[in-house]
Symmetry: D2
């Protein structure tokens, strides 16, 4: 049996990544695809790499007959999302890939996104979509809010450590290196090949990146008291991939054992042997996250490095992982594709 | 039911690509993996991107119990290959990815590869592995010789045109642009990131590239008379992908119709609407080949552009396509993975 | 003594390249810089790589006091250019980097650029700016029209061969590979790093690229009869550089000798030993053009490959070379900077 | 008047960068070039991008007549260097680009480089080559030991802060992102384009990178007590450039003012306005270092980001800057070349 799927916002990178993954997913069939400015076009016109697939034409959201749909992925820009989701039929299961329903506290939402939330009642239904930590809630949820790609990479490195109490909560520093697809298909000078390739720079440094809202919410909840991390993102000349270098205070072996134990049965989270460090190249195009731990020469200081593909495990793969649970499918269905290398 | 597979030469890029594709192939199980200098290591040590898979340890070829194997992929260097294949048990089905069994005429082999062929008798058994044109023979073959990646890209553009007689056989020019993974994991200065990225140059120009042996053999056979093309490869700063710009004399519409008709039922060959041209980005990581046709401003001159991923459709994907036929499986089994974009 | 320079259109890549080169030019001082939307900003704000220079602030063209200026580089978009140049004071020497004054025949201009020329009288004054072939005219000119970057690469490979009569004029084919900076700072999806890196595709194929107008004009003039070449550009994932693979009919040695003899005293044009082929990496950031010649295996067919940096020798370096002549300076002044490698 | 220069180790990237810079240097003439395995070749054969220069042929070191030379750049591998330098004539001024003479304490050398120093007496003569901080000593020195590229980037960010006492000396963390040319022309799998492009990973993490020896030596000397920093390098898919993200404890404005004041008269060190952060793209190919400062959301925590080109300011440009002082030339002679962008 197959489930009927709609994707709202199919003309962006996360929308296209959903289509790529569902193309070989045995339990999902794409029934509707929406795009705003590109409504009327075929997917092959917007994304020629999907030319081999038999897909519905792109339409406006209001043209979709949702009575026909089991689950809807929402890959729209933030702010737009909350207005669209609020109007969707209540029978519909929804996995949202935007930032709109990640923060439980409307005041936090307003602080990080600069405007009041327009669908506070809907927000209350939302389950935070970091699958490995919210499985049971996700399986029962109607609306799941996908974790931000950077926020996912950081949380995979840190959550078990915070829960186990093996690190100093006031001395957590996350230095992040991210590929450019996380910025989406936006037309900006600094995203041009001529300007981005061959160099690197920091952005949203100093505590301004919005994914800090997720770190604050989740780490404080886990710790039972406020936790504030340092977080500095850098843009790299690569398309897919996030590497977070997480600096913590704690014993290296204890940190490694805590992570290894926490993830021993996780199909997508792979902790490397102690002292080995991962590369983004080894997870590109896949739903896997690799984690490595090493001690610093200064006693009591430890590095955790985690890598994932921002479009897959950081966004669309994660979304399908959640959708699998919501539809009663095995969590890994359609997601065991190996990374692409070289 | 699953077929038991061995891969000889699993520590190179085409070997790793075979593993990547078989990882989600429902009819194949990897039973043995060989490597020479890296025997004794796990695949995760040689290719960390395959860390999530449960794979046999790398061994020397002579350690493999072939009584246990249904089909063997041979991804060894040329010259070595003919010696190894000559000694493999006769019950074994073999798909060879090297150049060793592509040329039927030993004199041609010696001309292009600079040494006499060491297994001329085995060569006689070999079927040329360009699946779309040798399907029936491949299904019955014990030994299939995979087409070269560049040779495949050029033949997809030209074979139907030669067969249909719509182009001038003495005026065929192939200008090829290739990514670097085709050169394999060789340690050469010009393959270093510092030297290759950001630039392009030609190599094996002027009629020296060995894949010309395949063009000569196949095009002459099709035409029933000698055909000699011009062929100039260029190395590009990208990892996967081949684009061939084929210049022919013939009517653009006739060329387009001939290709479109020839490939109308092909699952992996996609002819674009007349006047549209393909990009290597749209096939990367997949077994698809996209072809486009456009007329030149000079009457009677036409361009055909075809793109494919050298490691997939040009090598390991093609090999699995052939193996599927040899094992009685549907030809597309395990090969409908969508390309990776962006 | 230093000459006072204005640059119109300083916020684009060719404008910035002019500033880069003039920064260490002993005979030029930048007195005025214009930009349209970015007027009011400093160059350091628009191009932080120029932060170390003491430069005038960007202004609107109409704010510039041209009585103060000896020579004006015009790096504006085509169409805009002809309107601006028509209004500039008549005492002013002008080197134009746009396409507006390259084609002598207004009908040809209209054919390739889709609209009638708005300054036909000014056009009559313009000297075509391919320095090595128009030196004397350029030295005396008031207005020089810079050669297109692709047109320059092709002409360096072909002009001496056409003049010497050593090739068949009806069988010239130019397959071009170009980096992305030639497209300028335009915000288009296909120029984004996420879409351009890692792949290649053709554009303006089949005889549609506007630089064909220059080839037609120049080659026909040289030959004394109409010459029409085939020309297919491809976009490559690199920032700077053009490689043209030129396929001709003629004897390889004669072709090589003709080029070597023609350029033996040229400071910027380097003909490699017979059989060696150049790389774009070896000219990046410089005003040099490297040329190589090799014979094909088919007798009587020859390849000429030329490489140059589209922003330097193909545009801003060429412009300064012309300006040097117009100002009575040595032609190489400020232009002997070595390429950047790796 | 021009000074006669020898370059030992001219076939590596730093050797070639020296040639590139000296090509337009008004006070230096290259008189001898050595290479080991490539002796006998011309520079154009080893580095075709230098084809336009009239250079001496590569020879073995023992073939050089040093009586003829004023100053010798030594761009040899470490360990080899100390043996070569010990045998050079004593009249010769030497700028060494290797790691061999950077550490004053032989025990520290042995700790970081794994073997006793073979020329301890020569070491005593060496002046540490971070020009901006050792100018007077360098001007008088016979032997200058160039600072490591990573060590230079970190010290530019930190030295004035340590001297001024505005940061906590026990809480300094340097997260470094480096392009691949720093690894030299070594043939290693992880430096291949196919493996490096499109991804990132850490290396020598946890306090193992040898440039820590320089940080320890210099920061402790400045502070008058032991200082131990954390330092984690990452390899990025780019050729030139280092970005260090330095996390310190101290007031952001005080940090910014301290740096701005320290570097106000420095020709190559540019402190950006408070809150602005630099990009490696803006210094590529140049001798400039850009520095930015921003406060974190956590009070009392500050980020300093500095960028430079590892081959220029981090190595060969720095070496020429030192040589200028040693030869009595203006420090900036030949080094004001603008960066290359895009």
């Amino acid at each position: 049996m197959t489930h009927r799927i709609a994707i709202l916002g199919a003309s962006g990178y996360t929308g296209a990544e959903l289509v790529r993954l569902i193309a070989t997913h045995p339990g999902m069939t794409i029934t509707a695809l929406s795009a705003d400015r590109k409504a009327g076009l075929t997917m092959a016109e917007v994304f020629p790499f999907l030319r081999h697939l038999d897909l519905p034409r792109l339409v406006k959201i209001e043209e979709i007959d949702f009575s026909n749909i089991d689950l809807c992925f929402c890959a729209l820009p933030h702010a737009t999302t909350q207005e669209v989701v609020a109007k969707l039929p209540k029978h519909l299961k929804i996995v949202d890939l935007s930032a709109d329903f990640r923060l439980r506290d409307p005041a936090e939402y307003e602080k990080w996104y600069g405007a009041p939330h327009a669908a506070v009642e809907v927000q209350k239904e939302a389950v935070y979509g970091l699958t490995e930590f919210y499985r049971d809630d996700i399986a029962k949820a109607r609306l799941v809010a996908g974790t931000g790609c950077n926020a996912a990479a950081g949380q995979f490195a840190l959550r078990p450590l915070i829960s186990a109490g093996v690190i100093d909560l006031d001395e957590i520093l996350i230095d992040l290196k991210a590929g450019v697809s996380g910025a989406g298909r936006s037309l900006k000078e600094n995203l041009l090949h001529a300007e981005l390739s061959g160099g690197t720079h920091s952005y949203s440094a100093g505590g301004k990146h919005r994914h800090l809202g997720e770190f604050d919410q989740e780490f404080s909840r886990l710790a039972g008291r406020p936790v504030r991390v340092q977080f500095t993102p850098h843009l790299l000349p690569m398309n897919r991939g996030i590497l977070v270098t997480v600096y913590v205070r704690g014993q290296p072996q204890a940190v490694h054992e805590t992570l290894a134990r926490a993830y021993v049965d996780e199909p997508f989270l792979k902790v490397l042997p102690f002292g080995q460090l991962p590369s983004t190249r080894d997870v590109a195009g896949s739903n896997f996250c690799h984690l490595g731990v090493i001690g610093d020469r200064i006693a009591g200081r430890t590095l955790v490095i985690s890598v994932l593909d921002n479009l897959t495990k950081g966004s669309s793969g994660q979304a399908i992982q959640n959708a699998n649970l919501m539809l009663g499918l095995a969590e890994t269905t359609g997601l065991m594709l190996a990374p692409l290398f070289p």
